[in-house]
Symmetry: C2
């Protein structure tokens, strides 16, 4: 496709046009662009220029641009806009996107903005949606959907549908409800195109329809839609009344965010941060995990300190500390990552003992392979005695098995307790395996060398 | 929704029904289930039972079940089916899914299976698609789409479309082409519903249409579809002729796989493995990274070994090795993860110096915070002298800054060289920072303590 490429020249050109208030040129340049591309451009501008462009362009365009902006940046933009201006943007948006924006505003501004939304139904839908948690089906859904009554015929249905479709950007399915708004089934546009106009909806609709409850988690909704290849799913309340619809594009975002969160946790970053965030925000996200690692390091220090005698008699033992520690950490991360991913994909059931046995065997194989290489290398490079080689080899195998088993056990255990197993990866697993690894190493040394 | 839950009881029940050949009961139990659920069940059965069920059910159902199976498991199933049986399954599938299955077969079986596909057009489409690489737009696309000629009127268009729609499960857009099959634009179903039947397509179609080239990478397609919120995108060849269509559900899989691959690389697992893979496959995926870590550990060992004098005069230095190493590893992983994620999301531009400066400052802040705590703790816990405390503190700050800068630099460097930056995370970054960390520590000790 005519791929858009954000260049420094483009940004400079736009900054110049803004500075010289050459509005006509700005409009003709930007109006042809996709809103997602305009959002990329706006992110590179200063707030003043960004707001200038948002005020200049049509709200039909800018409302979509605003939904694409990063939350931090958007907050700054919204602070500089009047309640009336924000309301004008929201009117152009589907209710789910409007709610995402309005929910970021301070309480008193929310009310003010809503008072400027003239379309009462739109305003009511937005207020409705504000009740739901961000990470539930209710928080994802939009009110815009096409629904027909089971008691209508196809002709009436098509007529009503055309009216409703005016407000719905993409019609996926036509939902069929009874007189109480309870979801009964669905119709596809294709069916409607190929059915006689005199047929009754009751006789032609498909009663099998997937749906989620407003209270289901966003993660569950994403899993269900991905698993069943759904492009839209209706949302019902506790009485199975149709209250909204979730489309796949919102779920793509959930899937991406979920994957990014797990990745960040595995890398020891707590908050949802990006490379371009402020140093302060990045420090807040990173320091806590470094402190965990630090206390682990201090714990290891006191373990080594406790084996003073060994240090004096067998100083060569100490040169293998980094090896033991790195191996323990790496194995632990590998094992935990596989389990965390399996749990996220639902491909792991509760069967814990078989899995631990497998990790035990895997640790044994990897441990023996690595221990073999290490014995050879250290014999020639460090001229280690037989006893020292034996100590290092036995310690490596034990440490690897231990790390593999712990890396497997902790995520499954957390998952059973209802805690996100992803927190157990990264620095957490590394640190605990580091400390345990050193303890195992010196304990085995004590047994083999007898100090 | 009536959530499906895979239980041991259900598996046992199905195994019993298969063993006693109670086909009627099996059919009535399974025919009501979604194919994705049946695939989950089949994964838990032995191959013989799985094939029994696949042979029992209608190909309309089982073809979708087979597309949902894991590759390893599917290969085993296909080995036990005749070419004719496989062809019967493929006939039910969209070309993109059919190609995914057929491409796994050995060369001679491919030809045999294709010879059994009676629908010549379907067979030709499949052979066509087999030419494309798995991870390109061509490898993702299906041949099923609805296209109309710009020279038709709406009436003819609706008529043709109804015919074509028979073969297309979900119509997203109607693509408009010229007499040479060159993509000109699109029509939405909605437009078609609300336009007079006498209008000419030429006058009503939307000329602005996003598209990708057959040779574009799957990753790029996913990025474009996610960014522009597209549910389907047409694929064109070098002459801009319309050759296929990619739908969002295929891209959801790409996004998930991409995220999982990055996660696995960060955790030090090379191949695309799952928790349920064989011990041998898991070992092959894990051992290489452990060996990298091992050589790093041995490298660290020889560095320490090289500072024999220091070890004898200041043995207390050695107890801080785990702390230095763990901190270096953790900081490196944090920095690299943020950069890798930023690169994946296209939110990082080439601007490398500003980013390195930022990481430098971040490292300085985190380093001072951690060094402060360590000085306090080690003073009271290990009664370290002033000089030792100073050594450890300066080393920590330096090691943290170094790890942050390296963790940022390497992924950007690899990305510029066209190498997937995700390989630089995990054990790779950890190991190099471990070794460098130890070297920095002892070098600083040498300067401060002067041995």
């Amino acid at each position: 496709m005519s791929t858009f490429k954000l260049t420094d020249e483009l940004i400079e050109q736009i900054e110049l046009l803004v500075a010289e208030k050459r509005n006509k040129e700005l409009e003709s340049l930007l109006n042809d662009m996709h809103y997602a591309d305009i959002a990329e451009i706006i992110h590179e501008l200063n707030i003043k220029d960004a707001i200038y462009i948002i005020r200049l362009l049509d709200t039909e365009k800018t409302s979509d641009v605003i939904t694409e902006l990063d939350e931090d940046f958007r907050d700054k933009i919204l602070e500089n806009m009047s309640a009336k201006e924000i309301a004008d943007e929201l009117i152009e948006l589907d209710t789910d996107d409007a709610v995402d924006i309005i929910s970021e505003l301070p309480e008193n501004r929310k009310t003010e903005v809503i008072s400027y939304i003239e379309d009462v139904e739109h305003a009511r839908d937005i207020v409705d949606l504000l009740r739901y948690d961000d990470d539930t089906a209710g928080g994802l859904m939009a009110k815009e959907l096409v629904k027909v009554n089971e008691n209508w015929n196809v002709l009436k249905c098509v007529k009503e549908m055309r009216e409703q479709a005016e407000f719905v950007k993409r019609v996926h399915s036509i939902y069929v409800v009874d007189d109480n708004d309870v979801l009964k089934g669905r119709l596809s546009l294709k069916d409607l195109l190929t059915t006689s106009t005199r047929s009754n909806i009751k006789d032609v609709y498909i009663p099998k329809v997937d749906y989620v409850y407003v209270t289901d988690t966003a993660e569950d909704v994403a899993r269900i839609m991905a698993k069943y290849d759904l492009e839209a799913i209706p949302v019902v309340d506790e009485m199975k009344r149709l209250v909204g619809r979730i489309t796949i594009d919102d779920v793509v975002d959930v899937i991406k965010e979920e994957a990014e969160k797990d990745y960040q946790l595995a890398a020891g970053i707590t908050h949802d941060v990006e490379a371009d965030d402020s140093i302060w925000k990045l420090t807040k996200a990173r320091l806590p995990w470094l402190l965990i690692g630090m206390f682990g390091g201090l714990g290891a220090a006191s373990i080594i300190n406790g084996f003073q005698g060994a240090m004096e008699r067998f100083p060569v033992l100490l040169i293998f500390i980094p090896l033991i520690q790195a191996t323990a950490g790496n194995v632990g991360v590998q094992s935990s990552a596989i389990v965390v991913q399996g749990l996220a994909n639902d491909s792991i059931d509760g069967e814990i003992w078989g899995r631990l046995l497998k990790e035990f065997l895997l640790g044994l194989i990897n441990g023996l392979a690595i221990a073999g290489v290490v014995i050879l290398v250290s014999h020639f490079a460090f001229h280690t005695t037989y006893n020292i080689s034996l100590t290092v080899a036995v310690a490596l195998v034990t440490v690897i098995i231990n790390a593999a088993v712990i890396g497997t056990f902790i995520p499954i255990f957390l998952h059973k307790r209802g805690i996100d197993p992803a927190v157990a990866t990264g620095p957490f697993i590394t640190t605990s395996n580091d400390v345990l690894g050193i303890l195992i190493y010196f304990s085995i040394a004590k047994i083999v060398l007898g100090f």
